[in-house]
């Protein structure tokens, strides 16, 4: 109540001043009053009622028509008052949702956490950044009893919470694969069955799976419709697309995946990415794969993790710090 009396006093003063001589100063105090009334959650119809009663007090000779018109205005503003209160309550709900999503994002982060393994002779860098709070990209490293390193990178078609939920399923399907079956083609064939069976028909996953054998330095891989990565050949200094044919996960139940093999020489690099990397849009259109290669070349002397960090920073800047899609970039380098 005290706030209100105080407000009444301020309003009376400002209005009287303005009615006397129409100065900008008085209008400015009016604006300051509205800042305060909004803060105190006073609705529009109350302001009109206050205005009317103060006007009656300071200008009692005003014609009745003006007072009646204010009653009319008050009735019209009723709807805005209701909308205003609804807005306040929706804003509150939005806050709640926001913090709920934040918690979910943390849960997801813990669920999908993967450690970059220590493999003799390899240097690995990885970065994955969601466009919104939750990530629809996923990468995963495993090491089997023969010290072979498996690397999976997947992207759910779609973004946000549905994509993130879907990704958690992939993670558990991967965890439950039998130890000895980490051959890339059979990993994808297994996951395809899981996805086809369990996911909404309009939701699909692209995935790349590779297996690095540190004994003979052969990298075998297969792709389920995933954006092709790059292969850097140290001997020639050339970047090549790692083309691999294969259908998206979850479209056809009995899809077979072709497995490719590549002998990795010292200094060679395997670069894996999600389509958030090449689909990222700038003022001049899409990032071309060539541009990405340029960025990698510019940073090639750095450590693997620094390379991916730097590229992310550059692409983020190019997009004015607004990612349109989740972004994942992994770089595996065979040490010289």
């Amino acid at each position: 109540m005290e706030i209100r009396e105080n407000m009444e006093e301020r309003y009376r003063e400002a209005l009287s001043t303005y009615l006397k001589d129409q100065t900008e100063q008085a209008l400015y105090s009016g604006q300051k009053i509205s800042r305060k009334t909004i803060e105190d959650k006073i609705s529009p119809e109350e302001i009109i009622s206050l205005h009317k009663s103060i006007l009656m007090e300071i200008c009692p000779d005003t014609t009745d028509k003006v007072f009646h018109s204010l009653d009319f205005l008050l009735e019209v503003m009723m709807g805005y008052g209701i909308a205003y209160r609804e807005l306040q309550s929706l804003r509150h709900q939005q806050q709640e949702l926001k913090s709920e999503i934040e918690i979910a994002a943390n849960v997801q982060h813990t669920l999908l956490d993967t450690d970059i393994p220590d493999v003799d002779g390899l240097e690995i860098g990885a970065i994955s950044v969601p466009a919104k709070q939750m990530n629809g990209d996923y990468y995963h490293f495993v090491q089997d009893e023969n010290e072979c390193m498996g690397i999976g990178i997947a992207d759910v078609i779609g973004k946000g919470i549905p994509a993130a939920l879907c990704m958690s399923m992939i993670k558990y399907a991967m965890d439950s694969l039998p130890e000895h079956r980490h051959a890339p083609s059979s990993v994808l064939e297994n996951l395809n069955r899981v996805v086809e069976h369990n996911v909404d028909p309009s939701m699909f996953i692209t995935m790349f799976y590779g297996l690095y054998n540190p004994h003979n330095h052969v990298f075998s891989y297969a792709s389920a419709g995933h954006e092709p990565g790059f292969y850097y050949e140290a001997a020639t200094g050339e970047f090549k697309d790692m083309d691999a044919k294969g259908l998206l996960l979850g479209v056809e139940k009995k899809t077979k995946y072709k497995q490719y093999e590549k002998s990795v020489e010292p200094g060679d690099m395997i670069i894996l990415l999600s389509d958030g990397v090449t689909e990222c849009r700038t003022d001049e259109g899409f990032i071309e794969r060539e541009t990405l290669i340029e960025y990698i070349q510019k940073n090639i002397h750095l450590k693997a993790q620094e390379i991916v960090n730097n590229i992310y920073k550059q692409l983020e800047k190019l997009q004015h710090f607004q990612l349109r899609d989740d972004f994942t970039l992994i770089l595996i380098k065979r040490n010289v």
């Binding site: 078609i157 779609g158 699909f204 954006e227 259908l247 998206l248 479209v251 056809e252 349109r324």
Partner: protein
Amino acid sequence: MNITIDVQDINSRVEIQVKGEIDAYTAPKLRETLFPLSEQENISMVVDLSDVSYMDSTGLGVFVGLFKSVRSHNGEFRLVGLSERLRRLFDITGLAEIIDINSDAEGGLK
């Protein structure tokens, strides 16, 4: 960003002209407009994408869903007028192997 979807239904042959951008915001409209059509038996559905300036993976999802729905109702589904970039998207995802995207020559929309 907007999208217009023009549907021409001539006896069980539906020709659809899509104009604009297909992304997470416009994809639901595309899905809602085309899905009911895809559920008719023996339908022949042709979607012309020549005026699509941008499509992200959400759009891809819509077309795969449509393709599966048409196929399960014994129909025929074709995409025509794909840009270089779109064609690449269908190639990479392996969808070009199962969805007809190459029949512009015979019977595509003008």
